[in-house]
Amino acid sequence: MNFELMWESVPALLGGVPLTLQLALLSVALGFVLALFILAARLSRFAWLAALAKAYVFVFRGTPLLVQIFFIYYGLSQFDDVRASILWPLLRDPFWCSTLALALNTAAYASEIMRGGLLAVPPGAIEAAKALGLSRLKVLWTVTMPIAARQAIPAYGNELILMVKATSLASTVTLLEVTGIAKQIISRSYAVFEIFILAGAIYLLLNLAATMLVALAERRMTLPAR
């Protein structure tokens, strides 16, 4: 073990943290919004819309994220039409390609997590609220959503942690986030063990923070025991 090299490499690796965080936060936020639309489509009265949402989830859960990133970054850019389109300034950039792939991917999982939460709401609670004369919107806002969210949070916390780790795949499309920088240091020092231990520790710390946030949210959402 080369501890000196490890110590010297810490600042460089920490330099990748902002990019890792940007990738994770932006794609989770975009994915969350997209997931709401997918969920709405999935629960829609129109069979074709529900089928479309189902197909989306099937494709994005069923294919590897790495393939999705390569498809968006290397695949789309091979078409002249894509390069001539107004989207090219975004699709040209490895950051936006990675963010897009991560967001599309997490949206599929998140919509299913939300659906699971909704299905777990006891029908009796909704019936009771309706019997009290609450409006549909009020029922949704004060009964259905809080219960569904409480059910969904542990699973969604899992998804957040997976997303932080998934950002490491952005290193395959030339981005120098934590893993990209680690690979770069390794290509000069050949100290795979030392540098990947450090990189792993950084992800562990990031996910410790994510875990604590999820736990906090869970506590906030739980009714006090009586």
Partner: protein, 262 residues
């Protein structure tokens, strides 16, 4: 309790010896099985056919040497950015197709070279740069991560945007997509792209880069430090196939000129 502690110590001691087998092995001896680490993504030197078998100039040269020196050789695929670590931890015994540089000599030993080439840029035929640090200001330059062009580019092309790729193929894809302006790699390896349909409209650009401090003295095979047995046998093999024309036969299968260099 004491007994258990003693057992644990023994296990720990065994683990430590296992983790450094190099210290125990007779390094002058040639192993019966020689595993060759190869990238398999560097045409025409080494790449994979449709069935997934690794083929190319490197493979033919290595097979010729192994047949001649009665070595039992097998190929092990390894991504380029992990090719030296893979050798050091013993995933294979020899790396084929690696530039002989001073920087790498700190970690591994080398055989003699078996081919050599300068490094050059590839870029669009209709776009020219002044190929100096100043002139390349603002250019986006792609290369393979962990290749010696990366080290050179980082030291010399300080005013350009530099992008490292896992394979050269990916760099060419981004060149075609217009994400990068120039690919910086071994000139001979670039011919494969330039001669392909995708290479239409692109050409070699600028001067030869061959500063031996960065680009070494050629491309050879790497072994773990001190393993002179394998190295000497391979060197004999290279000399013999050079002398009796087998090298030339393999060379002519792939290149219209002698890639051995000066």
């Amino acid at each position: 309790m004491i007994n258990r502690f003693a057992t644990w110590m023994m296990l720990a001691a065994t683990a430590m010896t296992v983790s450094s087998p190099m210290a125990l092995a007779d390094t002058a001896k040639v192993p019966e099985q020689v595993r060759i680490g190869i990238e398999g993504a560097y045409p025409p030197f080494n790449y994979r056919d449709a069935a997934g078998n690794v083929i190319g100039f490197d493979v033919d040269v290595m097979n010729a040497i192994c047949a001649r020196k009665k070595l039992n050789c097998t190929f092990v695929l390894q991504d380029w950015d992990g090719i030296i670590p893979g050798l050091l931890v013993g995933k294979y015994d020899v790396i084929i197709g690696i530039g002989i540089t001073e920087e790498r000599k700190k970690k591994v030993d080398f055989t003699d070279k078996y081919w050599a080439t300068a490094s050059r840029f590839v870029g669009r035929a209709d776009k020219n740069w002044d190929y100096t640090a100043e002139g390349l200001k603002g250019a986006v330059i792609g290369f393979q991560s962990g290749a010696y062009q990366e080290t050179y580019a980082k030291d010399k092309f300080t005013q350009s945007e530099l992008k490292g790729y896992q394979t050269l193929e990916q760099a060419y894809l981004d060149l075609a997509a217009g994400r990068i302006d120039l690919v910086f790699a071994a000139a001979i390896a670039e011919l494969n792209f330039l001669n392909s349909p995708d290479g239409k409209g692109y050409e070699h650009k600028g001067p030869d880069f061959d500063d031996p401090a960065y680009f070494g003295v050629g491309v050879g095979m790497a072994i773990r430090q001190g393993e002179t047995g394998v190295r000497d046998v391979i060197n004999e093999g290279i000399r013999e196939i050079r002398a009796d024309g087998e090298y030339k036969m393999i060379n002519d299968k792939y290149f219209p000129f002698d890639v051995y260099g000066k």
